[in-house]
Symmetry: C2
Subunit: 308 residues, 2 copies
């Protein structure tokens, strides 16, 4: 038999993944899942591609805030433009750490800035900008372009799942329309498979088919308890397989339960400072839950033969 | 050559449909569309299945309102329970006619009642109720069950499109979660292909995977200018083919335009009092637009060999 997951090291984790996929496809076996119900959902940042030293989309937004502050001196005194302009990443990192610890005091300040950054442009223009950024920008420390920051073992797993009849979705806290222009190329997931946070959109008619314009307001933040809701909204099903890496994925992993069939819940552990990063900040509760709820922890250091 | 659409009568309309699909699949031809971009969107009520004497989902909601009014005498004095309890369909029809004519004075009263009717139950319970209703209820005048009220020529067209690489979506003003349990059986469209109006949902965790609960508030009404937005949210693409039948479909049909390729826009005309119903109420502006914008009007009477 050929190894279905050559970028995964042999061991209990790989066994659990390979066996789970096998049993979902074995008619008559305990754990068989009809094709239509083979729904797998994946968080993106920290699960499918790297999120340190900052989420890739945050880099995209910060560069836009810097450009806005360079054009308008008044903005340099206002957060989050001030932090972006001064490269005060500590201030921004603290907002995100506070968020994952449950303190959202400064999140609206950041969110307001990020929402303003691309308000009033069409979804097509936004995609052109995000696609160009993702294609042309290098990761600050890993020595590779952002599009090459996807984890090879997870990309391989996505392909393995689709080859076995699974529908694969990205259930990300990051922006849906940020990921869509590259999701097929990077993950083999077409545009309609990307679930993620979204801004409010409005249709502006004209005589050439109209355009859809980004409004300066969030439609929803696809994180925590919103993840099951938006998985339902899009896929109309409860998943049988879910993969995450942070506290924001707990509800999605919890939702991935069925009374009548086994499920696979994966939690990616960032414990590989040499090849990627080592951190548990923002994942403490999720790791506790993995231990008590039987989720499968994926050690980047031990379980992956290669990271990229 | 076998006739790809035997339930359509030969003529200009059928020719336009058959030729459009052919050219999207002919590499090198003007009008070739890569498979990934073959997105077709269909309104549901009045386009894929009948909507008279009232939309099928309205019948479902009214029966619930009647049951609530039977259990609670106070509700019998309040709209819309009063109209439902007294079978005052004239009052309700006027609200819908007013809506399509641009007057939404009483729409919030109806919407509030409909939202209250199924608030607090899980999406799974709601689906069980809607599926049971659709399977067990007969159309009031057509002498057939509701599930048999889909238009055979449109079901055939959906299959013809999928056989030619099109992704088919339902972009309905009706409720997404109402249609989902039967969409595959009736239209061959899986759950994730159903776009429609939605109520706000909330995730309620428990130790068995939690449930998603319907809240007494609309998330969005997928009608008029909201249709392009929710097609974009779901499919991430501008369609190349759209079919509708009423003023609420105008923006969806408008949105189905591309600078670099031809599109097909269909408007179903209800002109067959003998086999279905004959009406233009709520479609006046759409019919005007069809004449001026080159949309293809589908006459149920002339273009369809059979309706059901």
């Amino acid at each position: 038999m050929t190894d279905p997951l050559p970028t995964w090291r042999d061991g209990a984790t790989k066994d659990a993944v390979v066996r789970y996929v096998e049993q979902t496809c074995t008619e008559g076996a305990f754990g068989f899942v009809p094709v239509a119900e083979r729904v797998a959902v994946f968080d993106n940042d920290g699960t499918l591609w790297c999120e340190k030293p900052m989420p890739i989309q945050l880099d995209f937004f910060l560069r836009r805030l810097v450009a806005m502050a360079e054009a308008d001196a008044d903005l340099r005194e206002r957060q989050p433009w001030k932090a972006a302009y001064e490269r005060d990443y500590g201030w921004l990192a603290k907002v995100m750490d506070d968020h994952y610890a449950g303190d959202d005091t400064n999140l609206p300040v950041v969110a307001g800035g990020l929402l303003a950054a691309f308000a009033g442009i069409s979804v097509d223009e936004f995609e052109q900008e995000s696609a160009a950024f993702l294609r042309d920008t290098r990761h600050p420390t890993l020595g590779r372009g952002y599009l090459a920051c996807a984890y090879a073992p997870m990309v391989e797993l996505l392909g393995h799942l689709r080859a076995h009849g699974f529908a694969t979705f990205i259930a990300s806290g990051g922006g849906r329309d940020f990921m869509r222009p590259v999701s097929d190329e990077v993950y083999g997931i077409p545009r309609e498979g990307v679930i993620g946070s979204a801004v409010t959109l409005a249709y502006a008619p004209d005589d050439r088919g109209g355009t859809i314009i980004r409004q300066p307001a969030a439609d929803y933040l696809d994180d925590g308890p919103e993840k099951p809701v938006h998985i339902w909204n899009r896929a109309g099903r409860r998943p049988v397989l879910a993969a995450g890496n942070s506290n924001g994925d707990i509800e999605m992993l919890d939702f991935t339960q069925h009374a009548d069939k086994p499920t696979l819940r994966l939690l990616v552990l960032h414990d590989d400072a040499e090849r990627e990063f080592a951190y548990v900040s923002g994942a403490e509760r999720a790791l506790d839950r993995a231990a008590t709820s039987g989720w499968t922890v994926v050690s980047m250091k031990d379980d992956w033969a290669t990271v990229f």
